[in-house]
Symmetry: D2
Subunit: 284 residues, 4 copies
Amino acid sequence: MTKTLLKLSCPDRVGLLSCLSGWVARHGGNLLEVNQFTDVEASWFFARMEIETETLSLDLPGVQAAFEPIGIELKAQWTIRPAESRMKVVILVSKLGHCLADLLWRWRSGELAFDIPCVISNHEDFREMVERERIEFLYIPVATGNKEAALAEVTARLRSTNPDLVVLARYMQIIPRAVCEEFDGRIMNIHHSFLPSFTGANPYQRAYERGVKLIGATCHYATAELDAGPIIDQEVMRVDHFHLPADLVRIGRDCERLALARSLRWHLNDRVLIHGNKSIVFRD
Amino acid sequence: MTKTLLKLSCPDRVGLLSCLSGWVARHGGNLLEVNQFTDVEASWFFARMEIETETLSLDLPGVQAAFEPIGIELKAQWTIRPAESRMKVVILVSKLGHCLADLLWRWRSGELAFDIPCVISNHEDFREMVERERIEFLYIPVATGNKEAALAEVTARLRSTNPDLVVLARYMQIIPRAVCEEFDGRIMNIHHSFLPSFTGANPYQRAYERGVKLIGATCHYATAELDAGPIIDQEVMRVDHFHLPADLVRIGRDCERLALARSLRWHLNDRVLIHGNKSIVFRD
Amino acid sequence: MTKTLLKLSCPDRVGLLSCLSGWVARHGGNLLEVNQFTDVEASWFFARMEIETETLSLDLPGVQAAFEPIGIELKAQWTIRPAESRMKVVILVSKLGHCLADLLWRWRSGELAFDIPCVISNHEDFREMVERERIEFLYIPVATGNKEAALAEVTARLRSTNPDLVVLARYMQIIPRAVCEEFDGRIMNIHHSFLPSFTGANPYQRAYERGVKLIGATCHYATAELDAGPIIDQEVMRVDHFHLPADLVRIGRDCERLALARSLRWHLNDRVLIHGNKSIVFRD
Amino acid sequence: MTKTLLKLSCPDRVGLLSCLSGWVARHGGNLLEVNQFTDVEASWFFARMEIETETLSLDLPGVQAAFEPIGIELKAQWTIRPAESRMKVVILVSKLGHCLADLLWRWRSGELAFDIPCVISNHEDFREMVERERIEFLYIPVATGNKEAALAEVTARLRSTNPDLVVLARYMQIIPRAVCEEFDGRIMNIHHSFLPSFTGANPYQRAYERGVKLIGATCHYATAELDAGPIIDQEVMRVDHFHLPADLVRIGRDCERLALARSLRWHLNDRVLIHGNKSIVFRD
């Protein structure tokens, strides 16, 4: 069985779900899973539908064309795509490889289905780890003095690759505001704190100094403002007075891996819809 | 704004959601929240819809009558009721009052909206706690030798009260099989272990002896088989080697309170649908 | 069996544990539990010892007198007291009673052993809840214009009562800086956010606006700086996009109750040692 | 700074901690961390001490020889070893590689310090993953008919390697009772359920059928009785009605990885002491 995913958000009005499910039914579609949410305050409607592809009376382009006028009428943002199509995900990393290694394992084992056109890093540390998976490793060093040029090179590469998603898997360079805007909703960052606590640098050291009893990690979309984009998932673990900053770093790695892996999974399955500064996540 | 709740389960077929949401739309209903689940293995469909009552073109009896033929056609089990109607909940308790006290607080503060026709206990311990809330307290002692008669009296009282739900809030008597069947899906029990571990008596002592590192509580519907009914919610907390059975009892109390309060909330809001030995829970 | 609790912190040096445990042994004391922590960075030593009282060759004043010279030599802060002595705890509350109700239940049921000389509130809402437990309820209204006078009255009452601990159980007035300093380490506050996120007012509303996926509560000692004192415990629960601010408030109540109850328990059992802006907590 | 670890358990008596810490002090040792626990019911004493090696007046053999008579007098089980010495850990795996991959990453990155003399598997699947780390991969197939011979070969290899620990990282063969006894306390198994729920085969399928709302994993020492040995750590995650057995398997993998990695860490650092069917774990 293959699946077709419809993801949609639009201004709220009466009868939207009936309109959408009726449209699916008219094309013979068997609904496997439906998620719906109305943000009453914003008066906005969000939906995700999983349709059994074989039951649809049209092929994919036909379905998309048939939905076009409805999307226009509803003033909707929408996508329809086969669940089996694999997103292109570029991964950026610096010197901490736990998230990269975790994603590579989930990718290789098939737990997460996506393609990795390349891994970009400002260090050479993970060339072997990447290349032995037969993935291109792109070394773009960032030194004081060449930051702008280096990030322009990264951006150029992103443009030419045109990925569905960019994952900042502990990439310790700040992505320029203009790039965040250009790839709006397509850059996922894992921040090593429980946001909005400890935005910016050295969150574990600052968590240690504050004496918190729980540490965490936050996966969010990167926006122009640092660490302020829509949150997709967060994870926390308990710590004690005897944990030194190095312990927080170690324990936090597991938070980061879990929050990033879940967020990526949901993004790959069209389960995340962004609205303003928030994420609607139809978890699975 | 008031709300009308439609809860339904029926054999699966194509077009069910379209049928239901179309029906709501035809009667002018504005859908506030929709939850849907298809158990592919059992080929069974489950849905819950929150409709803005004021938008419906019919009053409650009208709506119910209008749905009648659809329910028959779909071979569905269904209810339509105002979200504001308060369920009648009888609480049974023995000598441990933490769950009772917790429910009374949530009830009195309005966190949970329901009515308590009476509290039944086989001990006098909580008479004052109950009566000061102006709730009837019914003492039905259970002694060896009179068990059957006592439980018959409890049952008679349940029959005459005809509650929407019976909560066994640490009632340490086994409800007879026939009563479980008579009140099928209407008896909620909080068991002081992480089921299916430690069914039956003294779970904390046995958890201690086994040396588990997490203890828990399980809220489930009572069925003929002890501690084997559909699970609604579970909660766990970490324990260590230095925790004695009395510590597990103490820590477990918080698990029990949380799991019971959440489960009751979902039941009161028609968020739990039972199918065979499982609960479908549309959490909020 | 009764227990004597020794709590101590002092500058670190070699042989401290040997010194302390040797001292206990010389007075016949059987150690039931020993906790020790060295803050290597601060070069500070922390210990807590539970001694079987009956095995000690001296009575309490004798033991305290015998320890006096050691305390001086080690430049230590220390206390020796019977575990059975009950601390005097004054509770302050405003219009949200869930923490108060929770503490009253744990107190009445004996889960937590302490005395409550009085409950102070700037509202009358909980008079009945308090007085029916035969606890004095003190109504000290705080209106714009009389804030200073009202808080002076609260302070006077605290001075005359001389409690071992003051619990701010959702008391929505800011305790004056001077009072925090006067009762240093003796005022426990439950803050309704996961600190250091959302210090100050309306944390749940702000958590909603930020779109966090976990909300929490923090129990800490009040210091001159608002919501910046030593953290004792924190608790979090998952939330979703469909949770409105009122839902966060509701879910957060359970976080607050749990974090406060645990923190109070540890404080009552001399399990919390404060050093600078951090708490060393020897959990049980 | 290097560290010497003293781990000890013995029958309880008055003055044990004083005796041990006094002994350390007499040899000039600076105690960095001390953990102690008395099982009052069993009247047994457990301790772990971290000593700054450079402060000791004797070298390792000297220290061990000096402790010998104390160990005898206390009828203690004890070890003294440098924290820096690396344990030899043999890993066994079958066809599910997530735990193996996780351990390899933690090993390679230095998060966990140990040596891997070889990985043994009854399948060829992970030869490349292991050999590219320059670790010996030993393929010992187990077919119906040759089970005994195959497990004898595994056992022979374990004997010749004489590892400090054997990790069953989802090795789907039952280790013979005699081998469990021979390597008592040195075989660590990760079981894919929250024990004592779902011992034996197919726990995720059975968890699905039971409709549990939390799934988990348990790391324990293997003993003669299947899945009944001392538990070191457990981890759980929430699941919902819409999770199929394959989802439980996926979510459970993260539970397994976390519980195993933490347990291994504690074992490598001499933080786990076994007594009867329980583990005393001095967590870090």
